[in-house]
């Protein structure tokens, strides 16, 4: 289990947990980041925002936000 920010480009992660308080969880889960959602990493430069693909959409997430999403690497 790793924070989303550590996922390499091309890797797929499955959301396990989201931290960061109820307000943040409420906002981000409405955009599709919920348990068991699959996330493909599209852009990750180890700093600055990441770009992921989730639920039919490309989403940009701040580095801080990406750290709060805990994923399990999915073997492809």
């Amino acid at each position: 289990m790793i924070p989303l920010g550590l996922l390499e480009v091309g890797e797929v992660g499955v959301v396990q947990d989201i931290t960061g308080g109820i307000g943040f969880i409420s906002r981000i889960s409405a955009t599709g980041f919920t348990q068991n959602a699959e996330i493909t990493m599209l852009r990750n430069w180890k700093r600055g925002p990441v770009l992921v693909f989730i639920r039919d959409t490309q989403m940009a997430l701040g580095r801080g936000e990406a750290e709060k999403i805990i994923v399990r690497r999915k073997k492809i």
Binding site: I25, Q35, L51, R55, T57, A60
Partner: protein
């Protein structure tokens, strides 16, 4: 169509339009209403409200465009406005626009609205893009599964509009709305939890909220609903709720809604597995989202956009500016038998003011067309993505970068460019900050005065100015975020929708609607302020040097003295608030160089009628370098021009905020001037 005609539509059914941003909601709105639109603000808010009207088979309908939202939880003002309208105004029909090419996520709003007491139609837009992705859907199955009518559409190509109209009619004519009970959407633990909470709050939920929906929102940690229920429940009961609401309950409930969506999608796919993998970026997107290349691409595209706006907008604007003085002179000649003040009033006060506003209108339309194009294509979120880390240092989002850059050419363009910022709060912050960035006209004045006084050291002045501008931006951003519109910078969570082929009708509709909004507010304000400026500069005796404007300058002399100004520079600073271009002409007149103007408005666009060298040498003789430097800073930070404030009013639709921002710029201009004067006295 104006407000009164909209109101006169009697017995009209109310139809509300909801949807996430970038789903083509405004295209559908424009297609349904045509030109019968009215743009205003939601009562007491700076969030824009669009209303329209249409007729279908003998029945009148009122269409209300709700702000674009992802969900109906109270995470933003837009979401509160949308859900308040649905719950409290109870529209006869609610259309939820869904993007077929981003189906899973955009269906979330359907899951959100389905549990409310309202009749829903799902407008399944962008079917062409979905098809290109290899996604084929059986919309009938989808509708049946969701228990709502689904209308497939390609709104940009006008496909599906007749079907949507028919669906609206059917829906409006059908009986009372059927609400989907939670068990049709939620499952398992989530459903059990909702039922548990519903039992606790039974009988305590204020109308018009529904118990089940309230229970759901409590579990999602909705602040507004929690606040209401905390006051209504006995402490013991509230504690019981409080123990049930936590991180997990939020994830459980939202997760359950997404499971419902997934089930609907998988059951309505024509051939499972035919879809191309969507998780691939196209070639351009790879460049556009690259941290280095993406920034260059963005700067190139924006530069191109600004140039395009100038090419389109400047010729008609310049033509107006050219004709305007002739019309003014013609009027003066024609009215030669009338009192001088009367002909001057018409020529300098009315015609020039209206002329400026008209010229601006053409320029604005060009800016709107270009911004509309960038929005329609879907490029802007990429730009926001690459510039987000940079803008974050100002406490802003990446999307504010575009208006800031446009402000460098013209503050009016910058103010209008803030339209691309989605959240009203971020947009408002950007709106107030954009005019702080100096436009080309300001640089012109800075370069002139700088060279006259500081010669080869002018670049140093510019560097100092740039540093102060950055500090000004940081301080203003801080003040806005912590005092004026409280709330911290919520982190970056933004979707990058697929690219769309630009649609001329959509872009034109966007430009025309915003242009009309400008005509209604900004135009009037500019014409009015021009008239007032004329009044002040003409009366009492038709000579600017003895006018009320001059008396004001003399009256404000004590403030001017703090910056080392005499009354003439103070007047020039006041003129600069109306127009930067006119400020040099005003100085020339006041220092006795160049032709006499009977009014300030006549000076706008009057470059080249005085000798710059002569003006320069007179200024050096009469003004100290410290005062000149103070003037540069005070001018840079003063109100940019009446055009910008007109656009500001047109965009916020609030005189209160327009006046507030004007006061802020004036104060910061004076503070900058006074500080710079006193600091530079130590050196000069």
């Amino acid at each position: 169509m104006n407000k009164s005609t909209l109101k006169s539509v009697q017995n009209a059914n109310t139809v509300a339009l909801a949807g996430q941003p970038n789903t083509g909601k405004s295209t559908i709105f424009n297609r349904l209403t045509g030109s019968k639109q009215h743009v205003g603000n939601w009562p007491g808010k700076t969030v824009e409200k669009k209303e329209g009207a249409f007729k279908y088979s003998g029945q009148s309908y009122k269409l209300v465009d709700l702000p674009g939202t992802y969900s109906l939880t109270a995470n933003s003002l837009e979401e509160i406005i949308s859900r308040d309208f649905i719950i409290k105004e109870q529209p006869d029909v609610l259309i939820v626009v869904v993007d077929a090419s981003q189906l899973e996520r955009t269906l979330y709003l359907v899951a959100e609205t389905a549990m409310l007491w309202t009749k829903i139609i799902v407008a399944l837009n962008m079917m062409d893009i979905a098809e290109r992705q290899g996604r084929a859907l059986i919309t009938e199955t989808m509708g049946k599964k969701m228990g709502v009518k689904v209308v497939p559409m390609i709104a940009s190509k006008n496909k599906g509009i007749p079907e949507l109209l028919e669906a609206i009619k059917e829906c409006a004519d059908s009986g009372k709305p059927e609400r989907k009970p939670a068990q049709q959407i939620l499952e398992g633990d989530a459903l059990a939890l909702v039922k548990k909470v519903k039992l606790i709050i039974k009988g305590c939920v204020p109308s018009p909220y529904l118990e089940e929906w309230t229970a759901l929102k409590l579990l999602e940690g909705d602040e507004e609903i929690s606040g209401i229920m905390r006051n209504r429940l006995e402490p013991a009961k509230w504690q019981e709720i409080d123990s049930l609401v936590n991180d997990n309950s939020v994830l459980l409930v939202t997760g359950s809604k997404y499971e419902w969506i997934q089930k609907i999608i998988s059951s309505s796919k024509q051939q499972p597995g035919r879809e191309k993998t969507l998780a691939r970026q196209n070639k351009f997107d790879k460049i556009a989202t690259h941290p280095v290349l993406g920034k260059f691409a963005a700067l190139g595209i924006l530069l191109f956009a600004i140039i395009a706006a100038m090419i389109v907008g400047f010729p008609p604007a310049m033509a107006v500016m050219k004709v305007m003085p002739k019309v003014a002179e013609g009027t003066r000649t024609l009215l030669v038998s009338t009192p001088v003040w009367f002909s001057s009033m018409l020529a300098d006060g009315v015609i020039i003011g209206v002329g400026i506003a008209t010229a601006l209108f053409f320029f604005l339309m060009a800016v709107f067309l270009v911004v509309g194009f960038l929005e329609d294509v879907g490029y802007l979120p990429r730009l926001a993505y690459v510039f987000d880390p940079f803008m974050q240092r100002l406490g802003l989002y990446g999307k504010s970068f575009m208006p800031f850059l446009m402000s460098l050419s013209c503050n009016i363009a910058g103010v209008l460019g803030t339209r691309v910022v989605d959240s009203w709060r971020q947009r408002f912050i950007t709106l107030v900050m954009s005019p702080i960035i100096p436009c080309l006209a300001i640089w012109g004045v800075v370069a002139f005065i700088g060279t006259v006084f500081f010669g080869a050291k002018t670049p140093l002045v510019v560097v100092a100015l740039l540093i102060v501008i950055v500090f000004h931006l940081i301080i203003t951003s801080f003040l806005l975020r912590h005092i004026v519109v409280k709330g911290d910078r919520a982190g970056l969570i933004m979707d990058l929708p697929p690219y769309h082929k630009p649609n001329i009708k959509t872009i034109w509709g966007y430009a025309w609607m915003n242009g009309k909004a400008f005509l209604k507010r900004g135009f009037t304000l500019i014409a009015l302020v021009s008239f007032v400026v004329w009044l002040l500069s003409y009366f009492p005796d038709g000579n600017i040097e003895t006018s009320f404007l001059a008396s004001t300058g003399k009256f404000l002399n004590p403030i001017g003295e703090l910056m080392g100004f005499d009354w003439r520079l103070m007047v020039a600073l006041i003129v600069a608030m109306a127009s930067k271009e006119a400020s040099l002409a005003a100085i020339a007149v006041l220092f006795g160089i160049g032709q006499k103007f009977t009014s300030v408005t006549g000076m706008i666009g009057a470059t080249g009628i005085y000798k710059q060298e002569a003006l320069g040498s007179i200024l050096v003789q009469t003004i100290s370098p410290a005062a000149a430097l103070a003037f540069i800073f005070a001018l840079t930070f003063s109100i940019p021009c009446i055009g910008t404030m007109g656009a500001f009013y047109s965009e916020t639709k609030s005189l209160k905020w327009t006046a507030g921002a004007s006061v802020y710029y004036t104060v910061s201009s004076l503070v900058a001037g006074i500080l710079v004067y006193n600091i530079s006295l130590l050196f000069f």
